[in-house]
């Protein structure tokens, strides 16, 4: 087991705790760097989805994992980022790069108006606009706790979904918007090209680094204090309202950036893509990954995105495999065939995916509330302490329900 001998206060807040981390994360980055050369186009495209989900996961981790504010409305933030991208792109704004754009807004309450807007490319605008809206959502959230906050975010997401479907001059309603391939400084980056993969990887890496830096700054410390006890945080002089709004704004802005990439990845967006189910999927990312650190966001994203190909594999190959196994163990040809048929029927039943999702969520919350990252920490500790590992080190303290109505 490795002990880090601390000789300096800076060692508590350094980004890298010890040399080994540089090597392991460097190796991971290098592996991801060469991955597109080794993997097929399908897996490469799945990895892009992992990156995008991981960016959203990081943003939710800031809000839920670190500040302790639940949200079931992140699909709406993603939608705002995606629609900003599609709309500004149709006005001729590039992905990145400075310029000036004229918008003909036909706002319902102002009438037709022209607006000259300086821009740094729509990627920045997707983040800024979503961040502003996130802050606006954060204000009502100030006085809300727990379940009320969740319901408020769900309501917000419903309202955004309806606006996207109805504000046809901008969003083209339910017919949706097409997103052309990405252009920055005159270079075109097609969605299925390897450069888009590197772009998403870079955005994810920068987001994670920025979040790590944020979390070791006073702002991040305030977030964590608010999560652990609002009363205690307040008595230490933390302006709870301001920090909650900040947390919402930062989280929304990051999701908006992810939305921009998401729009490019899908190259077509419509309101019914950004429903409550997508928000739930994002929360699943951090629940499955483990809401105890940024590792959880990335692991959870990988898990959620890879569930789909796994299910397809189960559907296509497992019945044959089981039937082959059965006939090897001495079952007759007819029985084996019947078995294969039955399993195939179960596999292709409509709604199987929903059932599996539900079971996965319940199993994780019941048996591994700290998620995949928590499991990894346990395995690591097992080997570090071998043979002295005690199961009780991670045992949950018994807790009892106390009303939240007295705050």
């Amino acid at each position: 087991m490795q002990f880090i001998f601390k000789t300096n206060y800076d060692q508590d807040i350094n980004l890298v705790q010890h040399r080994g981390q540089v090597w392991s994360y460097g190796l991971l980055l290098a592996l991801l760097g060469v991955a597109p050369l080794l993997l097929g186009t399908y897996l490469q495209s799945q990895l892009v989805f992992v990156f995008i989900y991981a960016i959203v996961g990081v943003s939710l981790m800031i809000l839920t994992g670190f500040t302790g504010q639940g949200s079931l409305g992140h699909a709406a933030f993603l939608a705002i980022g995606a629609y900003t991208t599609a709309y500004l792109q149709s006005k001729g704004v590039p992905f990145a790069g400075a310029g000036l754009v004229q918008l003909d807004l036909n706002l319902p309450w102002l009438g037709a108006s022209k607006l000259w807007l300086p821009h740094l490319g729509y990627f920045v605008w997707a983040g800024v606009l979503t961040g502003i809206i996130g802050a606006i959502v954060g204000f009502p959230a100030l006085r809300l706790h727990g379940i009320y906050l969740l319901i408020a975010t769900i309501s917000f997401a419903f309202i955004v979904e309806e606006i996207l479907a109805r504000w046809e001059s901008v969003t083209n309603g339910n017919e949706g918007l097409r997103v052309r391939s990405l252009q920055a400084w005159g270079i075109e980056i097609p969605t299925n090209h390897v450069s888009f993969y590197y772009l998403c990887l870079a955005v994810l890496a920068v987001t994670i680094l920025a979040t790590l830096n944020l979390m070791r700054s006073p702002t991040g410390r305030a977030f964590i204090a608010i999560r652990d006890s609002e009363t205690a945080a307040k008595s230490m002089g933390i302006d709870i309202a301001a920090y909650k709004v900040k947390s919402f704004a930062i989280s929304a802005a990051i999701t908006g950036l992810a939305g921009s990439l998401y729009a490019h990845k899908l190259s077509f967006i419509s309101p019914e893509m950004f429903t409550l189910l997508l928000s739930i999927e994002f929360v699943m990312v951090i629940i499955i990954g483990g809401a105890i650190g940024l590792h959880g966001a990335v692991l959870g994203a990988a898990f959620i995105v890879m569930v789909d190909p796994l299910l397809t594999w189960v559907k296509d190959d497992v019945p044959q495999l089981v039937a082959g196994l059965a006939s090897m163990l001495g079952a007759g040809a007819r029985q084996a065939q019947a078995l294969e048929q039955a399993l195939g029927n179960i596999g292709s039943a409509a709604g199987l995916k929903g059932a599996i999702y539900g079971v996965i969520i319940m199993l994780f919350i019941l048996f591994e509330p700290m998620g995949l990252y928590g499991r990894w920490l346990k395995i690591k500790l097992f080997f570090q302490l071998f043979p002295l590992y005690k199961r009780a080190s991670f045992k949950r303290q018994k807790t009892y329900v106390k009303t939240e109505r007295n705050r």
Binding site: F156, F158, I287, G351, Y400
Partner: protein, 291 residues
């Protein structure tokens, strides 16, 4: 004016449906501080059981109704035992996610067992109407209103007047303290889930002639019942009914008088407004914590 009254009545009927589902939320929340996001799906399941007993097994309406309600009581207990008891006391967000997972599972399972078609139950109230002047009231809607008011009254009396009801309120206030006072906490919690699932089953059966039974019906109605429960303060039984009626009337009125699209979002806009002004709901029970 007649239009207005007609809309008002159908709004109240719709609101009573939301109120019934909200009642389920409130019961569980009152006793365990758990918010059950699968309440709408329990309602859907109750409807499907009733369909099996009444239409497929030909038990007759009332005995089929009773059987479905009892079955759902057992299902409620089972859910409490397997899913809720191990995670009581976890952070609320985790518990909410667990019930969302349960909802996913129930929806898919129901879709696989009963198929994805709209199912219908033959009820004694199917076609009848009552006419008061020019006002037309359908029996199926009236049955929902009457049943909701009755259930609310019974449950309200149960919670406020009986020993068991007091025990349930004590359990939600502080589980450990309730345990020390000799309240059988586990049995109380198990019972409250059974009652809540039974209320959901009643809602499902009563709704069957109005909305049909479909595996997704629970999600849509359950999400509308949330604003109702929040408006009512989330811990109050009359509040749930009042909130449900308010949401139902707002939705119907918005659908009738405003442009298309307002109908679906109006309840949520009202909800956000109320949360802004009175975060504890209209009939709130949040007290300041004294440190």
């Amino acid at each position: 004016m007649l239009d207005f009254i007609q809309q008002l009545v159908s709004g109240i009927a719709l609101g009573c449906v939301y109120g019934l589902i909200a009642l389920g939320f409130v019961l569980i929340y009152k006793a365990t501080e758990v918010v059950n996001f699968a309440q709408g799906d329990l309602m859907m399941l109750g409807g499907f059981f009733a369909y099996t007993f009444i239409s497929q097994l030909q038990f007759g309406y009332w005995s089929g109704f009773a059987l479905a309600v009892l079955t759902m009581g057992l299902v409620g207990m089972l859910i409490e035992r397997l899913l809720v008891r191990p995670i009581l006391g976890y952070p609320q967000f985790a518990v909410v996610m667990a019930t969302i997972g349960l909802g996913y599972f129930l929806r898919s399972a129901a879709g696989m067992i009963w198929g994805t078609d709209d199912l219908k139950i033959d009820t004694p109230f199917a076609a009848g109407v009552i006419r008061i002047g020019n006002l037309v009231l359908a029996h199926d809607k009236l049955s929902v209103i009457v049943a909701t008011v009755l259930l609310c009254a019974v449950l309200y009396l149960f919670f406020n007047r009986t020993r068991l009801g007091t025990a349930m309120r004590a359990t939600s206030e502080n589980m450990l303290a309730a345990y020390y006072m000799g309240i059988p906490v586990k049995r109380v919690v198990s019972l409250i889930w059974a009652i809540s699932a039974m209320v959901a089953a009643c809602a499902g059966v009563l709704l069957a002639p109005i909305t049909f039974i479909h595996s997704n019906v629970g999600l849509a109605l359950g999400l509308k019942a949330f604003p109702a429960a929040v408006l009512g303060g989330f811990g109050s039984i009359p509040g749930a009914l009042a909130g449900g009626v308010i949401i139902g009337v707002i939705e119907t009125m918005a659908g009738f008088y405003l442009a298309a699209g307002w109908k679906d979002v109006a309840p949520y806009i009202v909800l956000l407004g109320v949360l802004l002004l009175r975060p504890q709901g209209l009939i709130g029970m949040v007290a300041r914590k004294k440190v």
